[in-house]
């Protein structure tokens, strides 16, 4: 039992079953929409989790990459005549390129200094999206054309639910495999001590850059999905609060835990939706819940619960 539970891909079948069974409980399209949003943010959180939980590098600007992906599928078809699906791929490629160029200098910074540098980067992108109104529609945002695949327009929250679910499961499997690969081990060594990792022959700068680029691609893909799902996009997608939200998802769910990213995303997407019944008290309760989870489950929700379960067995 233990060996099964501790297999690196153990969480994949569990998450697959959840994703397949959950729609049976959905009474309306609204639930599909919220669930698809959860999966989109979970995908972005997985990418950030690889960077933060695995490699130990903080990014407070990851929403910037979501913005690149989101505006790619909006601007590509609207202004440049590039089909949506191609814009989607080009957006991911552009995010990777930007991450590569930005990551080279700023990943030399450590800890809080890296945090402020990535924060500045995310803010720069948000400012550009806000001010280049001719291209992006400015603070009001712009509509996102529907994705058409083989003359088949994708519409309806349930369609998007299955697309995002498949993407999430693929993303999660890739991430879990990466964690147990030699690169994953090298990154964990960097997390513990860069000097020690370097002494062991790990090319620290290169590995950090690689994981930064990969996490940017995750965020960009999530951003594109978010834009296509919403049909409208505003600069908020790459704002500071969005970046903070992504970090909070990773930490609440559990740093280094891929299933945790799903739980963290679910918590922070679903909670505000349900707390609206509290009207004015919404933010107070949200803040209290975030604090309480971190104080009582400081390793994050999934690792704490998993540890408790494994100890039982």
């Amino acid at each position: 039992m233990r060996t099964i539970l501790e297999h690196r891909l153990a969480s994949i079948p569990v998450m697959t079953v959840i994703v397949l069974v959950l729609p049976l409980l959905f009474p309306s399209g609204y639930y599909y929409r919220v669930a698809a949003l959860v999966l989109v943010f979970a995908l972005a959180a997985i990418g950030l989790n690889l960077l933060m939980g695995l490699a130990g590098q903080v990014s407070l600007g990851h929403a910037g990459f979501m913005g690149i992906g989101a505006y790619a599928v909006a601007i590509g078809p609207a202004h440049l005549g590039v089909p949506s699906w191609l814009s989607f791929i080009l957006g991911a490629a552009l995010s990777a390129l930007v991450a590569y160029l930005v990551g080279r200098p700023i990943l030399r910074l450590k800890g809080h200094y890296l945090a402020v540098a990535t924060l500045g980067f995310g803010l720069l992108l948000a400012i550009v999206f806000n001010n280049e109104a001719g291209l992006t529609g400015g603070p009001d945002g712009m509509p996102v054309p529907r994705l058409v695949l083989f003359a088949w327009p994708l519409r309806g929250p349930d369609t998007w639910y299955w697309i995002t679910a498949a993407s999430f499961l693929i993303g999660a499997t890739l991430a879990l495999n990466l964690i147990e690969s030699p690169t994953g081990r090298a990154l964990r060594a960097i997390h513990d001590s860069e000097v020690a990792a370097r002494t062991l022959g790990v090319d620290v700068a290169r590995k950090k850059l690689a994981i930064f680029v990969l996490s940017a691609v995750y965020a960009s893909v999530a951003g594109s999905y978010f834009a296509l799902l919403n049909g409208h996009i505003t600069p908020d997608i790459s704002g500071f609060l969005r970046s903070i939200e992504l970090v909070a998802m990773v930490v609440l769910g559990g740093m280094g835990s891929i299933a945790g990213s799903l739980v963290g995303a679910a918590l922070l997407v679903v909670l505000p939706q349900t707390l609206t019944v509290l009207h004015d008290y919404e933010h107070m309760v949200l803040g209290l819940i975030v604090m309480a989870v971190m104080i009582f489950l400081r390793a994050g929700i999934v690792p704490t619960v998993a540890n408790a379960l494994v100890r039982r067995i």
Binding site: Y113, I244, L252
Partner: protein
Amino acid sequence: MPELLQFTFSGLTVGAVYALVALGFTLIYNASDVINFAQGEFVMLGGMTTVFLGLAGVPLPLAACLAIVLTVIVGLALHRFAIEPARGASAVVLIIITIGASIFLRGAAQVVFDKRFHSLPSWFGNDPIRFGGAAILPQSLVVLAGAVMIVLLLWVFIDRTLLGKAIVATAANRLAARLVGINTRRIVGLSFAISAAIGAVAGILIAPITLTSYDVGTLLALKGFAAAMLGGMGSALGAVVGGLLLGLLEAFAAGYLSSQYKDAVAFLVILAVLLAMPRGLFGRASVERV
């Protein structure tokens, strides 16, 4: 030339507030390694509480004092009920806790106060003082004088009193401080109280110029954090210099380049500084132990 003077003054005014927020970050960080993202909420609480006590008929000077007391109580509560129970948790967990606290405080302000913008009357009227062709608001001078006084008071407190030296000792080495009989828990609580007071004063001083509302804290926390990092985390001098520099950068960028891209210019400069000096302007070099 008058332009330059004008931008310098508006930059210094905003910069003084950033400097006070950054100072609050630095105090708490030194005592406890916590980056307190609720620091901006202290500024909001100071301004908003004064406004609403004033509306309730309390004379403004008394309202300001009460606002500072209330903010200090909130700071102490934050330490006692959110930071203290999570002692020993990793840095990023503590950051998320303070972010949770800032969401909570913003939500509470929304309920207790309201969602509108408010202003306080200027201390010495609104007639600008002409100086070398530039028009300076009297309140700007109040902000600058207030900031200078806080920095001086803080310096005297830290450098000349036993309690202040206990803060320095705790910042330098917590275990050693405990060994010589310093109650480090209480020192950390004290640093939260002082940071809250500094934030509240900043909020009260700046409210007549920039207005205040329940959500001014986020942006200030962000700018204060950036200023503290620009100066070098953990350095009080760095926090003040970083704050003033950030304010000046924004004012010059807004005046000479583009007001839309002023934040962009400020952050580009911060990035450039950090790439050249990875520990900020006044940060200490650290050695990683393996």
